[in-house]
Symmetry: C2
Subunit: 553 residues, 2 copies
């Protein structure tokens, strides 16, 4: 069969003129959509009678007239069916694993039909591009006229089952991830018919800025799917290669976080998100009516309870869980709800023990991602180009004063006893990169005034604190510190921060029963993924993000 | 040194008359507490001046007068210190690892001093029982009179650092987990002094029903810590061996859940807990004001979004995350907030594929816990005796109709098309155990009326559904089903359940863009732990539980 991709519209890659992406194609799409709608109408069952249960299915209804030699080999699934009875009970092939070695084999696949079109040279064949996860494969169909019509009527993004033979290609394909082989379709069933017109297309949502710029330069701009539209139709947006890849990376980040800390004798805990006081103080807290007239806050972090777990005798704990911030931050890096990666541990001598864990964990994490997520990082890189993170085997530690000094020397105006603003952080990241060749470093001994009330002051100078932030690509990614474990000092500090002591009495009292010195850190899962992958917006690293404007889907 | 435990009060174990736990001991405790309070008062620093930072500490202040030969070997930590400078920079020993092989070695430990008392035979020694995690060790001290006074003044549950030599004992101890050796104290520092009088004692909180019954029978009842009091002082309650063990088991449950599903190509996702409609319908939903006047619900499950992740092209996903139920259920097995273990997956032929995953996962989980949590399960068993779970290598599957039939034959009155009530579940569990010798089984094909709106009806009889519940020890532990992936049917079913379609439009619309048939299941982490360990109350399996009455600590 054809080894020459005939795919319309060709993506504007090097050598393929973007001009071919004309309005003609858009019109053709529209016509096809109409046809498909008509066809779907004809296929509707007469009545919604109860049909046989799965496993006891009737013989598959031929989809077309009796003079169709392919009649038994295609059609829509019956209502209530998961799979037509005519499909063999063979094992399912994973598209991503189809290669030369599979040539000649008969395979069964279920996937999204991301593109269906008639051959431009060989008119009596239809091409179907199947996608499953991050893998795509070309299928080619040469059935009866009716079967061809059936195939060509399939709306993009319908779920189909294909049975066929794997055939070696003379020339590798350019548009699919499976490049050496294609599937020659024998049977084709539609399992779930997509709407004839989708609100956004996976293809459009998956384009890189470079593709847009090239097309724009040639005067044939491509439809651009804005960030908000993507999120409105997130279930389609997530189907892009980069969308799929980001969450596979996220899965690995979480796995590694858990695995590393477990190997260091941390245990996983879960603390309540409904609490009777605010965890971090300030106004950025969601409140709600609990039972029996009580008022509850949504935890802004697991801070209070993870410390209480230390009071409860767990020497080292971590938590992966939801965190809620009612902040009005409409930035590229804030969400109203995110996943906190938190750890808390006894400190035996010095709070640098917490830095040591952060250091070991993240260096190991970076290595792991670079080694084990190559395909995913490439997919992200194709749509959102980024440079790999530069990091040192032993993470650089600078004191806050050293950081301020570097900024001053570079001419940045800075308030030495306040927190760094976003610009100063960015600048410091740049200076550190130039001087130390790393995108990842720890800045410790922050001014006390810039930290939450539970942070341990430095005893040699209580204007500073036993605390640190960690930066990746010039943005804060982790915050950590030694905590106050002495209840009187804790109560005093809470009061100084304007926190009503009575609202967190249960927390302060916990330190009266013998408490080991302890500290910990917190990071945001989405921010770790965003910064590691160099994404420009944290929303891309959240499955269904929540920000001040967005509460759905 | 002494190999004979002289510990007062002896726990009422076999052979030790419970009568020895007299009021004398209570009075002695009270006197000791007073003494300790006085001592602590004397030790308070004159002023709260800034002191040197850790690592640059001053020479440790002798805790007593200059005529004390042990003066340099004990004392309270200075304000701001994590560890006195006089403590050697040796490695920290893990109490749990001290055994015969360690005899003769010098060790450094930091732990809770759970008991301190003067030798009853040898008056010039003090015994200190140290606890760290689930391990306890006896320390014996024979210092100057002042050092003895210092030691004996330590309130129970203070954090201390001990440096000393490991010594082999002639007879194994009965009250500590380290039985073959003790530590002969050379240095003793108090790192965090507990309040002289604790609201509950770890010892009381750690007693079994059997101990209480025995003491009661002998007319010397022991102080009983009720479930509510335990939870009020959860940070102390968690320090009991069973308390520690439960959450180590929980850690393993979560790890195995993730590991097993990851090995079956599931990826971990995180879905929003703040949503614009209710996930399960009904009134049991917490509502709050979101940003910009919007009203949000706290997700009652990740149901809607985990299905949308399948729409988003992730073939198999799981989530470990918070779940909120505003139910007024004051039972032993309901919480207002718990940790959901959820999975969702494409179904290729039949919803039993979901049962297969549940089957494989839980059989593997049970095996793993029995093999890897022996110490923890023993600790739980000591306080809360239970029989190990009986399960089959291939999990029993019964249809709902078969289950009803068994109940009918046993004379239980039952409404065949409604859900099973708690009693019927318990009874069925008992019948199944008698007939099939298993505590764990799957009941499938539930009446549709008993299931949520998104459950796929059976096509051969829409009064039933492609759904299942899983039972452990006669209680529901997992719920699962095939989901409706056809938007019109889904909208119809939502309406039939009285759910305002517009509130979940974003969910229903997700199925219009090509959706694979899919299904999944959900379990509660706390309930899995509770039922596996045969605990009588789910609150014991939640670090800081939330129920209609409880929003703190």
């Amino acid at each position: 069969m054809s080894s020459e991709p005939e795919r319309p519209p060709p993506a504007p890659e090097a050598g393929v003129p973007a001009a071919t992406l004309s309005n003609k194609q858009r019109k053709r799409d529209a016509r096809k959509a109409e046809k498909a709608a008509k066809y779907a109408q004809q296929q509707k069952p007469a009545a919604e009678d109860p049909s046989p249960e799965h496993g006891q299915q009737k013989q598959q209804q031929p989809a077309a007239a009796e003079d169709d030699p392919s009649a038994a080999n295609y059609g829509d699934v019956l209502p209530g069916e998961i799979l037509p009875a005519a499909v063999p009970d063979g094992p399912w092939a994973e598209i991503g694993r189809l290669d030369k070695a599979a040539a000649g084999r008969s395979v069964l696949v279920r996937a999204w039909a991301q593109a269906v079109y008639r051959g431009s040279k060989t008119k009596n064949v239809a091409f179907i591009e199947l996608r499953r996860g991050m893998s795509t494969v070309q299928c080619v169909l040469a059935g009866s006229a009716q079967m061809m019509l059936f195939a060509l009527s399939l709306p993009k993004e319908s779920i189909v089952v294909v049975e066929g033979a794997v055939a070696l290609l003379d020339n590798p394909l350019r548009y699919t991830t499976v490049r050496e082989v294609e599937i020659q379709v024998r049977k084709l069933y539609c399992i779930s018919r997509a709407a004839p017109k989708l609100p956004i297309s996976v293809e459009d949502a998956g384009r890189s800025a470079e593709e847009f710029a090239k097309a724009e330069a040639k005067g044939v701009p491509l439809p651009c799917v804005g960030q908000d539209t993507r999120l409105d139709y997130r279930v389609i947006d997530l189907r892009t290669a980069a969308g799929q890849a980001v969450f596979r990376v996220q899965h690995q980040v979480e796995n590694k976080f858990r695995e590393y800390l477990s190997s260091k004798d941390f245990i996983s805990i879960h603390t309540p998100k409904l609490i009777s006081g605010s965890s971090e103080g300030g106004a950025a807290v969601f409140k709600l009516e609990y039972k029996n007239g009580k008022c509850a806050c949504l935890a802004q972090s697991p801070q209070l309870h993870k410390q209480m777990a230390i009071c409860g005798g767990f020497c080292r704990v971590f938590e992966v869980g939801s965190v809620f911030r009612a902040e009005d931050s409409n930035t590229h890096r804030h969400l109203c709800e995110f996943v906190g990666l938190d750890a808390e541990m006894e400190i035996m001598r010095h709070y640098f023990e917490v830095c040591d864990i952060v250091d070991g964990l993240f260096v190991e994490l970076f290595r792991h991602l670079n080694e084990n997520c190559k395909t995913e990082l490439e997919a992200i890189n194709r749509q959102y180009p980024f440079e790999p993170v530069k990091y040192l085997e032993s993470t650089l530690r600078l004191s806050y004063e050293e950081g301020i000094q570097m900024l001053k020397e570079a001419g940045t105006e800075i308030e030495p006893m306040a927190d760094l603003n976003t610009e100063a952080e960015k600048k410091l990241g740049q200076l550190v990169r130039e001087k130390y060749d790393t995108d990842f470093f720890i800045l410790y001994r922050y001014p006390l005034a810039a930290r939450p009330f539970y942070t341990m002051p430095c005893y040699d100078n209580p204007a500073y604190s036993n605390s640190f932030d960690v930066f990746l690509r010039g943005e804060e990614i982790i915050s950590g510190a030694q905590r106050i474990h002495e209840p009187e000092l804790l109560a005093k500090r809470a009061a100084e921060h304007g926190i009503d002591k009575s609202s967190i009495k249960w927390y302060i009292e916990s330190f009266r029963y013998g408490t080991p010195p302890h500290g910990g850190f917190g990071a945001g899962l989405e921010r770790v993924v965003m910064l590691f992958c160099g994404l420009n917006n944290i929303r891309k690293a959240s499955c269904f993000p929540r920000d001040p404007q967005r509460l759905s889907p």
